[in-house]
Amino acid sequence: MIFSPAYLRRIGVRVLLNALTLIIIISLSYAIMKAAPGKPFQTERNPSPEVLAELHRKYDFTYWQYLRGIMLHGDFRYSYSHRNSTVMEILGEALPVSLELGSCALLIAVAAGLAAGLLSALYRGRWFEGLVLSFAMLGIAIPSFVLGSLLQLLFSLHWRVTPVAGWSGWESKILPIITLSFAYVAYITRIARGSFMENLNKDYIRTARAKGLPEGRVLWKHLLRNSILPVINYLAPAAAYILTGTLVVERIFNIPGMGRYFVESVFQRDFPLALGVIIIYSLFLLFLNLLADIVLTLIDPRIRLQ
């Protein structure tokens, strides 16, 4: 058995705590939104008092109504600012797009970051290491709106090989995915490089090499398995950052993802939509942290036995 009963119990308690955390998040968000100045149905052209009263009658809800709706029926209610759509419909369309964008970017970030980290650790002191490190520095320093606009300028307007914006067809997805992954490639390279270098000097690697194991096996079986833990630890927050940080990339490349609702719903005082986005993001964050914990346990028996 991989997981001990004690470990399973620990996971169970964490799930319960996560549920509690979520309720606290919803309650706080609800309270903050209600306290914020500005009214959802206030527009530049003042609606007449009678119309305003009707809108409130139709769309308003109390804290308990909301909580009950979510818990019992999974009802996220109607959006205030997109009047004919439910929050569920809106996010149901946007979430897969953000997930696709985010997971592709993360995948590239992990693959490229690990490769660059490994190579720069193996070829220490050579020109290659300098190249990787400067690249990593650039990745961390360049904001995505600059990189995105630059890529658009070069690939779409100058060479005309990709569309400027949109999210249909793989050609349109290349630039946003690269833009989004760039900074994470850099982070993962730095983390992986540090971890690889640390482990390369360990006795077990020397032993493995001394007993004549092929280098590929040493790297794959021994080095990678031990060095990847910090990268996996970083993946949960990275996935969360990537998902919640798609706003800028979505805007530049006009991608119909979740990011825009994160900000727009708050500006519009679209309470149901804002709460919906917060709930989805929170669920995602809590789930990822739990998952990272489980994956770490699977890879590293030492954690399992504790």
Binding site: P40, P47, H82, R83, N254
Partner: protein, 513 residues
């Protein structure tokens, strides 16, 4: 090593047919229900799928027959009888009759529908009482004595009523379909329209696509097969897409690109019926004096703002009402530093004794900030006054101006609902819901009120001009510039002729091959 849920395939998108006329429509339409619309993006789409009794003209600013083939106006100008075409159909092929207009307009007037434009109906008999729930919607002053006749009883003999009939909320909407599908009626497949196009695709935050409606009465004259309204919020992205030929028509140019755009043949710049102005809080001490308000107004060099900040694509204001056909306007030169100083001392203020809390409130946007900075410098130079700049995010700004919860000055703008001066002048009457200056002047109220009763257009316009003259003498609003349309258009775009409000007659527009 990689958790399975990250491995969502990056699949290929949809197939491509011949490209329709593609429009960068700004924000995602909030709704396609003509009675739930609030902004330009949804009004544009609604204009393609719904049609009113009349449609906007493209040769001149007079409306043309739409669902109604002709109409009669009574001698007193207050009763309209529309004669509908026979055989007009909805986009599902079912007959469209005068009764549909009856039901649509009642729905529009009903406060339960929650339309922000309901107040436009107030010129129709009993509309106010219906809105205030004192009378049921079926007591609205409209009738459909038979399938092809629709009559309207107005309270006032106002000619702009016909322009209103071309405005999308006055279109026929499928009330039975709405009853059947409730909030889901605007989805493709459910939505039944009356316009030259019908809704085929609505992908949220991506596009709304409409295709030619074969049941439209004039479909033989509709040249464009399909239109796509892309939801693109970022102006720079839209601009890049236009440069790359991905969209044919942009409704805004990023401010940083205006200089470039102005030199391009694709740039389209036309006056528009809108004013950018500053509100003065007339309820606050000091600012309740017209002389102080005029001092501030006359110290603003509008020409400099237009040239330097706005790259010369708009016109300096010479009154509150933008120029419009049939209305001369007050045509004032509102920049005169000597006069401004005079007004200031008459009000009892000066550099040594500044008015209390001089502050410019604006909603957080770069261009508003730039203008506020320039104006505060002009007040400093011409009047020796220091103004504080304060910005709030949009919804807070709206709340504060609506409740007169601002110290002295607040930035504002207004686009007329119809091309008539009353659309502006009514704003500053004492009881108007959009009077955000707290202005109340009995002579002004009376003059505006009198204009409603005049059937003769010339007399009416003269009366409105008197009202505007009073307004500019009291100066509760400080006009700054008149808006303009700033578009980028493919050279192939044909018949895209805006009315003064920047609205289009969609049935005529097409992309030349």
């Amino acid at each position: 090593m990689i958790p399975a849920f990250f491995l969502i395939a990056c699949h290929d998108g949809s197939g491509k047919g011949p490209r329709p006329l593609t429009i960068a429509n700004g924000a995602e339409p909030a709704s396609l229900d003509p009675h739930a619309m609030t902004g330009a993006p949804e009004i544009r789409v609604a204009g393609t799928i719904f049609e009113g009794l009349v449609v906007r003209g493209i040769k001149d600013h007079h409306v043309r027959p739409g669902a109604a083939k002709s109409w009669d106006v009574s001698a007193d100008g207050k009763a309209y009888t529309f004669h509908l075409r026979s055989g007009t159909k909805w986009s599902d092929g079912s007959p469209l009759t005068a009764r549909d207009f009856l039901k649509s307009w009642r729905r529009f007037a009903d406060p339960a529908t929650g339309s922000e434009y309901t107040t436009l109906m107030k010129i129709i008999r009993n509309a106010d009482a219906v809105r205030e729930k004192k009378l049921p919607p079926d007591s609205l002053g409209i009738a459909a004595p038979d399938d092809s006749t629709f009559t309207v009883q107005l309270l006032f003999p106002v000619g702009f009523f016909l322009d209103l009939c071309a405005f999308e909320p006055f279109s026929a909407v499928p009330v039975d379909t709405i009853a059947k599908y409730q909030d889901r009626w605007t989805q493709p497949g459910h939505l039944v329209g009356s316009g030259p196009f019908r809704l085929t695709v609505w992908k949220h935050n991506v596009e709304v696509r409409v295709e030619k409606n074969p049941y439209y009465w004039d479909s033989a004259d509709v040249k464009q097969a399909a239109l796509t309204f892309n939801a693109i919020e970022d102006q720079q992205t839209a601009w890049n897409m236009f440069q790359n030929g991905e969209v044919d028509w942009l409704f805004s140019v990023p401010p940083s690109r205006l200089e470039t755009a102005k030199k391009m043949p694709e740039f389209f710049n036309e006056p528009m019926f809108g004013t950018y102005y500053y509100l003065v809080n007339c309820k606050n001490p000091g600012y309740d004096q017209p002389d102080l308000r005029k001092a501030l107004a006359y110290a603003i060099d509008r020409k400099a703002i237009v040239e330097q900040v706005l790259k010369g694509v708009v016109r300096p204001a010479t009154g509150f009402v933008p120029p419009t056909p049939g209305y001369t306007g007050v045509g004032l030169d509102l920049y005169d530093p000597a006069k401004a100083k005079e007004f200031l001392s008459k009000a009892g203020f000066g550099p040594g004794k500044p008015p209390p809390n001089l502050q410019i409130l604006y909603n957080t946007t770069e261009s508003h900030r730039d203008i506020a900075q320039v104006i505060s410098r002009m007040w400093k130079e011409n009047l020796g006054l220091d103004a504080e700049l304060v910005n709030y995010e949009w919804k807070v700004y709206l709340e504060n101006t609506k409740n007169l919860d601002y110290r002295s000055i607040a930035r504002a703008s207004w686009i007329g609902d119809f091309a008539d001066p009353i659309s502006f002048l009514e704003l500053l009457t004492t009881t108007d819901g959009n009077n955000r200056a707290g202005f109340s002047d009995s002579a002004y109220d009376r003059t505006v009120k009198e204009s409603w009763t005049l059937a003769d257009p010339e007399q009416r316009m003269a009366k409105l001009q008197d009202a505007e003259a009073i307004l500019m003498d009291r100066m509760p609003v400080i006009p700054i510039y008149y808006y303009s349309l700033q578009e980028m258009r493919s050279p192939k775009l044909q018949n895209a002729i805006p009315n003064p409000l920047g609205q289009y007659s969609w049935k005529d527009i097409y992309l030349a091959p």
